[in-house]
């Protein structure tokens, strides 16, 4: 459920109403920022940020560090698996 897609905030269209444009793979669409307003109210801080877009609302700001970490874990898994494979091959040989 709940189709969501990452998009980058490329323009603050209406700071009063909390409306921005996001870019999803070259496609722009207006989104409402009501769920991701910065505490200081300065929307400019959102420029360039990636957000999870759902039904025309920015629902979450993407944590790029966490994204990197997730991929790192997977990469490590890959290395581990390679080692395991290597070991297995060694044993069999």
């Amino acid at each position: 459920m709940c189709l969501g897609i990452p998009g980058q905030i490329v323009e603050i269209k209406d700071a009063d109403e909390g409306v921005a444009m996001v870019n999803v793979s070259g496609v722009k669409r207006e989104v409402n920022l009501g769920c991701v307003l910065p505490e200081d109210g300065n929307l400019d801080a959102l420029m360039g940020r990636w957000t999870l877009v759902h039904v025309g609302f920015a629902m979450s700001l993407i944590d790029e560090e966490e994204a990197r970490k997730t991929l790192e874990i997977l990469a490590e898994l890959g290395e581990l698996q390679e080692e395991l494979d290597a070991m297995q091959n060694t044993e069999v040989d």
């Binding site: 459920m1 709940c2 189709l3 969501g4 897609i5 990452p6 980058q8 109403e17 999803v24 793979s25 669409r29 207006e30 409402n32 009501g34 769920c35 991701v36 307003l37 990636w50 999870l52 759902h54 039904v55 025309g56 609302f57 629902m59 979450s60 993407i62 944590d63 790029e64 966490e66 994204a67 970490k69 997730t70 991929l71 874990i73 997977l74 990469a75 898994l77 890959g78 698996q81 395991l84």
Partner: protein, 375 residues
């Protein structure tokens, strides 16, 4: 596409799959009978079929496709209510495209539209509000549908309507909440689930805490999971790791999107506008306590349930329809008596055959050839 393509890497998928194959052999309980892992969310079901993941998994893992598609669990009576509203000549009825083909007891919204109702598909509730601004002589009704993920957008739209003093906008609120339903599944005597993939986008709103009872009271692991194929596979791996270690924790695989605490701004908007209903009717599952929300009195003027006389009938699911059993994971879609015969995506009897997130539709359209041939 950033944050998308990285999580669709086939090479990496192979690695995780290898690990899953290895690990499942090391889990004792998987050796007698297949592990039953439920993806609660239709988004996961969709990914699993879209990328053909199921056939790549070991036989010792059986995926159970849960009730997490808000379109699929929409009871017929509610569709009838939608049609009743849409049939008012001064109404513009707006809805997400998903709901158009869901059968009511007499007709779907698509049929009602063909018969002349002014029914329009929108991408956002804000687009519906825009229609209300554009057509002050019409009543614009938005069909609010979805779990916690979607509630904040609807709530903020009502707040916007209030702020602008728009008084020809209405919400037909059918938002539902997933936690009571997971609990109902866990309490169901005719099923056993070893672990869960938790709904990532619901969690980005509600955070991690609401799932704690699953590990605490029912001793089952739940992994909050993203929707890309690597997300799903990694989450499965995380379930297996817990099962192997005999643990039952709530973990968050989808940290890039889901903060542990959820989204406070979103939750605030939701609680400003909505309150829990005593109960709500789910297709196939019957009435579940506290599983839906309604509009608070403070926003009564926007409430379509108060503004329109609705038939509001409880319509029994067709006798031969086994959606409930599929939703609970008791049977596989292709084990339903009408699957692929009376019930196909073209002529859906149950809602699970309508949405591409519905388990039956997914099996039918994307399914393994063999599974289809069985049916």
């Amino acid at each position: 596409m950033k944050f998308v393509d990285e999580f669709r890497d086939p090479d990496m998928a192979k690695v995780i799959l290898e690990r899953i194959h290895t690990l499942v052999d090391e889990i004792p309980q998987a050796q007698d009978r297949p592990l039953q892992i439920m993806e609660v969310c239709g988004g996961h079901t969709h990914s699993i079929f879209r990328y053909g993941l199921e056939e790549l998994l070991p036989d010792k893992i059986e995926l159970v496709h849960g009730p997490g598609c808000p379109v699929c669990v929409l009871p017929m009576g509610r569709v009838d209510d939608c049609v009743a509203i849409a049939e008012h000549p001064d109404v513009i009825f707006t809805t997400f495209g998903d709901a158009m083909r869901v059968p009511g007891s007499k007709k779907s919204l698509q049929q009602a539209k063909a018969e002349g109702c002014d029914i329009r598909m929108v991408y956002s509730p804000m687009d519906a509000l825009l229609l209300a601004r554009k057509h002050p002589d019409k009543k614009v009704v938005f069909f609010g549908l979805g779990f916690e993920t979607t509630m904040p957008s609807t709530a903020l739209t009502l707040k916007q309507a209030e702020k602008e003093g728009i008084n020809n906008f209405y919400l037909f609120c059918n938002h539902i909440t997933i936690i009571p339903t997971i609990k109902a599944i866990l309490d169901s005597p005719d099923m056993y689930i070893d672990g869960f993939l938790g709904p990532g986008h619901v969690s980005m709103v509600i955070g991690q805490a609401p799932y704690e009872f699953i590990s605490a009271q029912y001793q089952r692991p739940l992994i909050i999971s993203g929707f890309e194929p690597l997300d799903v596979l990694q989450s499965l791996l995380m379930v297996l790791e817990q099962l192997k270690a005999g643990e039952a924790r709530i973990e968050n695989q989808y940290k890039r999107i889901v903060p542990d605490g959820g989204n406070m701004q979103a939750l605030k908007a939701v609680s400003d506008v909505f309150e829990l209903r005593e109960f709500f009717e789910w297709r196939g599952l019957g009435s579940i306590d506290h599983s839906g929300v309604r509009i608070r009195d403070a926003y009564a003027q926007y409430d379509a349930e108060r503004a329109f006389a609705l038939p509001n009938l409880k319509i029994a699911d067709p006798k031969s329809c086994q959606c409930g059993e599929v939703l609970k994971g008791v049977i596989k879609p292709w084990q339903c008596k009408v699957f692929g015969k009376q019930c196909t995506p073209e002529t859906p009897m149950g809602a699970l055959m309508v949405s591409t997130e519905g388990a039956c539709s997914a099996y039918y359209s994307y399914g393994k050839i063999d599974a289809r041939n069985i049916a």
